[in-house]
Amino acid sequence: MDRRQFVSGAALGAVALATPSLLRAQGAPIKIGEINSYTSQPAFLKPYRQGWELALEQVNAGGGVLGRKVETLFRDDAGKPEDSVRLAGELINAEKVDLLSGGFLSNVGLAIADYALQNKRLYVASEPLSDAIVWAKGNRYTFRLRPSTYMQAAMLVEEAAKLPAKKWATVAPNYEYGQSAVKWFKELLKKAKPDVEFVAEQFPALGRIDAGATVQALEAAKPDAIFNVTFAADLSNFVRQGNTRGLFEGRTVVSMLTGEPEYLDPLGAETPVGWIVTGYPHADIQTPDHVKFRDAYKAKYNDYPRLGSVVGFDTMNAIAAGIAKAGTTDNEKLIDALKGLKFTSAFGPVEFRASDHQATLGAYVGKTAVKDGKGVMVDWRYADGAKYLPSDAEVKALRPAG
């Protein structure tokens, strides 16, 4: 190697070394730190992640946001709030993510939200249903996408109030979600129909329902109608025992989340007919936004979307829309942009309310039926979340953070 070769080689090397950092400075990807209970809640979160990755792919195929690619770092909290806080710290300090998202369990969501407040970092909560996330413990840095426990209860109460039933029984998993669902349902139904009474309530431990005994206890109270909040395996066990023991015969059941494919599909031919539920009739929604989403999802994964897919897809798109509107990833400006942000979800146009940072994403309310040995939703309608949220003035009282 002579001297000239050496010099040119060195120069090339210098350029090669310098280029990536130049590139990074101009078009460094926007990083999102996404924390979720992937291993402990796979039934919901596998479709969630697929929906998210579909949206991510579409955003990046369209040139990214602000001319930058978007990158997601997925982290598993294994269902423990204390782990989610550690992961949030790791994502912010080590990976230098621009914002946080995710959360399935309410307590995980609340832990990240509090961390976000403490560290002045944006957190877009996708899934946790707890009302506290946007109201009692709401803060400037936290936004939430999914319709909350309160909203779902309000949607169901609207239907329940039309029923002739006077005596109600409730069954709900014994944790915050179940307890507040029952609390809101009772409160709102009594307001709508003062003559109802609640004759029995059951709170089986989450994932460990003693279904036979629970069904018997409800039966013994002889209610006219039942409000159910159990889901997943608890729901399947409850339904099977209830079917065999005739608990649902001659009674109307109003049931939260049961129309979601995640919980309806395992029931198969056993699906009880005529329950009034919130959920997601994926095969029958023919709005253009949804058809586009469903076709893309089917093409990519060769599977139909679950509700988790919609939530993942929408969360990713909402974040992209927010950054585009803000024109920056500076968190304070991004938060101002997210307040009142309008974006298009798979269910149609949605807005993050400025007053409480809750999205107006709705849910589908309908009745369960069996078709070809599978559970489906019929007679459904889209309940727009905006209609089931308290007014801005009422929210002021519910949300100390303002």
């Binding site: 992937y38 832990a111 509090d114 707890s130």
Partner: protein, 630 residues
């Protein structure tokens, strides 16, 4: 009213049957091999999943297809159990007490990911059993005929097992081995074959229990852990190694469940643990259990004598401390978070080790004191408006008070019974935090427990946590080598002789229990301010298990083991969770591998190695190696 009582009794009996099958397998395995088999719930889950697949394949409508599938599932899992015993457990029977628990926990993690991989995330609602699809009308209410079938299965299985254990040679050997394993070995019985067959048989029973749930419950990925704690309760309430006791206990638990939800619908979370606590306080060896014959330490190597650290070990310790002190100047900023967490867990593990090692009291519920420390800090901040430092000082008292009360009951027992009573108390503490929403915020926890402004920077909080943990760990160490520590170890090794020379063994153990609780409380309080929030998960079973794993991985009979174990276990888990979504499988496999490679724990094996080398040196100075105490 009478008809409701009747129906709930039947419901209780029906759910008792599967519980009985699982628990009785667990009980037999423990009785003979002394293995606390955490993977028993996994066998139960595998049985259910396999039955689902096989029954669907053979045709669920056909009686032969259904029952054939159920039985075949049990047989396959039994073979799997034999494989596990031969490949893994057989290698570690000589390890210290409870060490095998580590390996079985590794299996639990692996099976969780394997089941997810094979059967996918969705719950599987199995077919109804042919011939038992409908219901019968009993006293005016409809009762599923399959539940009646299950009610009958329980006593039939009990009868078969009774016959097996009383009337066959294999059964006689199993009973003999349950009573005195060494004697059975001395009489020339092929122990290897006996252990393998017992383990396979127990696994098969668990799988049968799972398969029989098919028409009753949706098969899902959480079945393993929800069954295992309940099965432990049944085994202990019934009395270890007693099949009849297991049946009685299963019926008791089933019936209490069925009536409990009528009277206190919200208390189902803890009901079984309350029952267990009451039974153990009244009958320390369970309903049908007998006081174990022979020495409690009749198996495994005798605990080596703990010696104060040699010069070299002290140097290593100082060097490690120096590394931790200097680390912030070398490593990237975010590593401080990991190091802070690891320091806190090291104290937690050291506090548990103080009970388990020198105290000889294994605890399955040590997270209670960790959690109570955390709640103490959070409640002090939230309700008393305390600043950080007073709250940190106040918190351990809550843990200590719990230690005083719970410990008083626990030290009256020993071995696995003691461990299970600690678990019961931990679950009661957990349920209180979970259920008392007005004070503790329920499962949404208490938020906003952040450190004072001066301690908020990561670096400052790291040094604060490190300082507190090092001081607390050193204090524990000093106590171990103080006269109190010697008295404690004497009580562990020979309660009779200790009593004879005038040591109040029970009171000494009680004080050790309280010290361990306070130390765990300190760790919990630091953890609360570190995370900024407190949740019931801090004192849930998985946290207790983590503590146990850290101590066992490090080595029970070494003083520095728990610290090494904490860093190894939590560090490994953190890195794996980041690296792969299948971290549970990799973690489980790593644990199993570590267990086989280091059968006395990481530090324990290192020490044993050093010991051998010293003995090999011919001119080794005759140190006074006291005769190992038994």
């Amino acid at each position: 009213m009478i008809d409701l009582i009747f129906a709930q009794t039947l419901n209780g009996l029906a759910s008792a049957s599967s519980l009985f099958l699982v628990a009785c397998g667990l009980s037999i395995i423990f009785g003979v091999t002394r293995i606390v088999n955490f993977a028993h719930g996994s066998f139960y889950m595998l049985g259910a999943y396999l039955a689902f697949t096989l029954v669907s394949r053979f045709g669920p409508a056909d009686a032969l297809g259904f029952w054939g599938g159920v039985l075949l599932a049990a047989v396959i899992v039994a073979a799997l159990g034999a494989l596990v015993e031969i490949v893994i457990l057989r290698r570690i029977y000589q390890a210290p007490e409870l060490f095998q628990l580590l390996a079985t926990f590794g299996l639990v993690l692996m099976v969780q990911d394997i089941a997810l991989g094979i059967w996918g995330p969705e719950d599987k609602l199995g077919p109804r059993a042919p011939g038992f699809k409908s219901f019968v009308v009993l006293m005016g209410s409809r009762f599923p005929s399959y539940e009646l079938f299950l009610i009958v299965v329980g006593p039939i299985m009990l009868g078969l097992l009774w016959f097996l254990f009383q009337k066959t040679r294999w059964g006689t050997l199993v009973r003999a081995a349950t009573q005195d394993r060494e004697m059975v070995g001395a009489l020339g019985v092929n122990q290897r074959l006996l252990f393998t067959s017992v383990f396979a048989f127990g696994a098969g029973l668990a799988a049968l229990g799972g398969a029989l749930q098919l028409p009753r419950e949706a098969v899902n990925l959480h079945m393993d852990l929800s069954m295992i704690s309940e099965a432990f309760v049944v085994v202990v309430v019934g009395g270890l190694g007693s099949v009849t006791g297991a049946y009685l206990a299963a019926v008791l638990i089933g019936i209490i469940h069925a009536f409990g939800i009528l009277i206190f619908p919200k208390i189902t979370l803890v009901l079984v643990f309350l029952v267990m606590a009451v039974v153990l306080v009244i009958k320390p060896y369970g309903l049908m259990g007998k006081r174990p014959v022979g020495s409690a330490h009749a198996h495994g190597p005798v605990e080596p004598l703990l010696l104060p650290a040699s010069h070299n070990v002290k140097l290593i310790g100082l060097a490690a401390l120096a590394v931790l002190l200097l680390a912030p100047f070398v490593v990237a900023d975010h590593w401080l978070l990991t190091l802070t967490e690891l320091s806190i867990f090291a104290l937690f593990a050291a506090s548990l080790h103080f009970m388990m090692g020198p105290g000889g009291m294994a605890s399955f519920g040590h997270a209670a004191y960790f959690g109570l420390g955390a709640y103490g800090a959070a409640l002090a901040v939230k309700w008393l408006g305390m600043p950080m430092v007073p709250a940190l000082a106040f918190a351990p008292f809550l843990a200590g008070i719990a230690g005083v009360i719970f410990g008083w009951f626990c030290v009256r027992l020993s071995g696995v019974y003691l461990a299970m009573l600690t678990l019961a108390f931990a679950q009661i503490a957990w349920a209180t935090a979970f259920q008392w929403v007005d004070v503790t915020g329920g499962d949404n926890g208490i938020l906003g427990v952040w450190p004072a402004a001066w301690a908020a920077p990561k670096l400052v909080y790291y040094y604060l946590a490190l300082a507190v943990c090092v001081v607390a760990i050193l204090a524990l160490r000093i106590i171990v080598f103080a006269p109190f520590g010697y008295a404690l170890r004497a009580g562990r090794d020979s309660p009779l002789r200790s009593e004879a020379i005038g040591l109040p063994v029970m009171r000494i153990q009680w004080i050790a229990f309280i010290i361990a609780a306070v130390a765990a409380g300190i760790a919990g309080a630091l953890f609360a301010f570190f995370k900024g929030s407190v949740f019931p998960t801090y004192m849930a079973i998985p946290r207790s298990v983590d503590g146990l794993l850290m101590v066992l991985l490090g080595g029970v009979q070494t003083v520095s083991g728990p610290i090494v174990g904490a860093f190894a276990f939590m560090g490994l888990q953190e890195q794996l969770m980041k690296a792969t979504m299948y971290w549970r499988f990799v973690m489980g496999a790593s644990i199993v591998l570590l267990v086989i490679l280091f059968p006395r724990g990481l530090v324990g094996t290192a020490l044993a190695f050093a010991e051998r080398r010293r003995e090999a040196e011919p001119a080794a100075p005759v140190t006074a190696t006291p005769e190992p105490a038994r």
